[in-house]
Amino acid sequence: MHLIEVKNLSFKYQGTNKFVLKNISLSVRNGEIVILAGPSGCGKTTLARTLTGLIPQFYKGEYSGNVLVCGYDAAKTPISDLASCIGYLFQNPDNQIIMDTVERDIAFSLEYRGFTREEMRNRITKILKTLGIEHLANRKIDTLSGGEKQLVALAGVLVMEPKMLLLDEVSAYLSPRSLKRLISIIKLLNKEYGTSIMLIDHRLDLFVKVADRVIIMYDGVIYQDGDPQTIFKNLINKKLGINIPTIVKIYERLYLRGIRIDKIPLDHIELADIIN
């Protein structure tokens, strides 16, 4: 079964006259790691909002087509029910954290869903351990650094044990060190728990090594959808405003000089192998 199935989706925000999503169809399977990339304003965040039900339930507008999330119609299912299928991590953790201490914040959504105290305790302990932030459990939110806040917000999302984690432009707020940690968490979640991951980010260069699949949006439509090799081959010499990894850019330049390499190198090690 597909985790996500979007069919012929179009959307236009209330009070505007331009469709932000234009007849989009796509599906995501269980256990996939997908990057959704595209220039600013291409509709990435809007698409994410339709997956979490925020559109059309919170943001109003003209909506047509179908979004199925774990088999539920995202337009009609309560947003809090969808959260156990898709966990949505916002760009800015300050918009996500609501309670005053780390533990209480993580407990919040469980409490709301009526979990028993014991179950809550178990889940919180487990998630703090997975993310390596046990030591933060009793800290006040306002004493945390930006990177720590992002991890706490992530814990609040993961404690619902969603089948898919949706990360919306989180790279903009993270230091290189925190980013490295996030990437290893993504790999762990995917491998140990089979969690699907969708990364909405124009920093393709940061995430391409972990992705099974890259989807490129451009001006409200799906412009490309495939594995990284195919996508980068198709993107040669196209100016789309996406941050292509430096090593892939080198490949492009060599390609334009007439050098043919079968497999596109995605990082320095692969390029060094080609040189040797």
Partner: protein, 278 residues
């Protein structure tokens, strides 16, 4: 010229955030300050326009000692564009947003009109002059913030994390804007942890900050070719071409990349089996 002379800084009784900072920035230079979050980059930048004063030591901007000069006198010389400057917009049009800054400095109307025209054109924002700044895309908003900072023609332009959250188009435009500003004899100081961006600005003088201390001050070519371990020490990821240099050297191929184009030439040669020229 900007001079940091033995600068130490701490908030109240806290630990020192800046430790023994000595920097001289000459006119027309581009200086890139690299460091992890919490390394002291923003604290250092805020010393340049006098928002923060050293706990010990002095900061001079031309003839002004920031401890004595008024913030408004410093602001005429130094424009500081914060991280996420778009959060500070508040007027109803792009035009008015720029005009507000100029009116604040007491410029007459004809000069204001002239300057607004000039900077909006320079940053490809003229067509949006009547639009609300809140309806611009993230990249356009960032450009507007820099345009505003340049409107009163400051000599020094200080940019905090200019590429954060920006897409590929915007990053390329930013590189053009920075080069253009240097061409117009501005002095640029920028703080970032976006290493790939800095690699594309090889003319940058690089200062690496680690926990409030300068651990490197020199050319980007030198740093990326020979001292990538300093970046790792500072919690940063070396640029991928710097990692490629290290990998090739380990395998017995001694390469030096002077900049991006030079790297492509040399990789091209290596793949064709030619000798790599130093």
């Amino acid at each position: 010229m900007i001079i940091f002379d033995n600068v130490w800084f701490k908030y109240g009784d806290g630990d020192y955030i800046l430790k023994n900072i000595n920097i001289t920035i000459k006119e027309g230079e581009i200086t890139c300050i690299l460091g992890d979050n919490g390394a002291g980059k923003t604290t250092l930048l805020k010393h340049i326009n006098g928002l923060l004063k050293p706990t010990e030591g002095e900061v001079y901007v031309d003839e002004l000692n920031t401890k004595e000069a008024s913030i408004s006198n410093l602001a005429k010389k130094v424009a500081l564009v914060f991280q996420y400057p778009e959060r500070m917009f508040f007027t109803e049009s792009v035009w008015k947003e720029v005009e507000f800054a100029l009116a604040n400095f007491g410029f007459e109307e004809d000069i204001r009109v002239h300057q607004i025209r000039k900077v909006l054109n320079m940053f490809w924002l003229w067509e949006y002059k009547d639009r609300s700044p809140f309806t611009l895309s993230g990249g356009e908003q960032r450009r507007l913030a820099i345009a505003i900072a340049l409107a009163w023609d400051p000599k020094y332009v200080v940019l905090d994390e200019p590429t954060a959250g920006q897409d590929g188009f915007q990053r390329e435009i930013l590189i053009d804007i920075i080069r253009n500003m240097v061409y117009r004899e501005k002095t640029i100081i920028l703080a970032t942890h976006d290493i790939e961006f800095v690699f594309e600005l090889p003319e940058c003088r690089i200062i690496v900050l680690n926990k409030g201390e300068i651990i490197y001050d020199g050319s980007s070519v030198e740093l990326f070719n020979n001292y990538p371990e300093l970046l790792i020490e500072a919690g940063l990821e070396p640029p991928s071409l710097s990692k490629l240099i290290q990998t090739l050297r380990k395998e017995g191929k001694y390469v030096v990349f002077k900049n991006y184009d030079d790297a492509i030439d040399k990789i091209h040669n290596l793949i064709r089996g030619g000798e790599c020229n130093k």
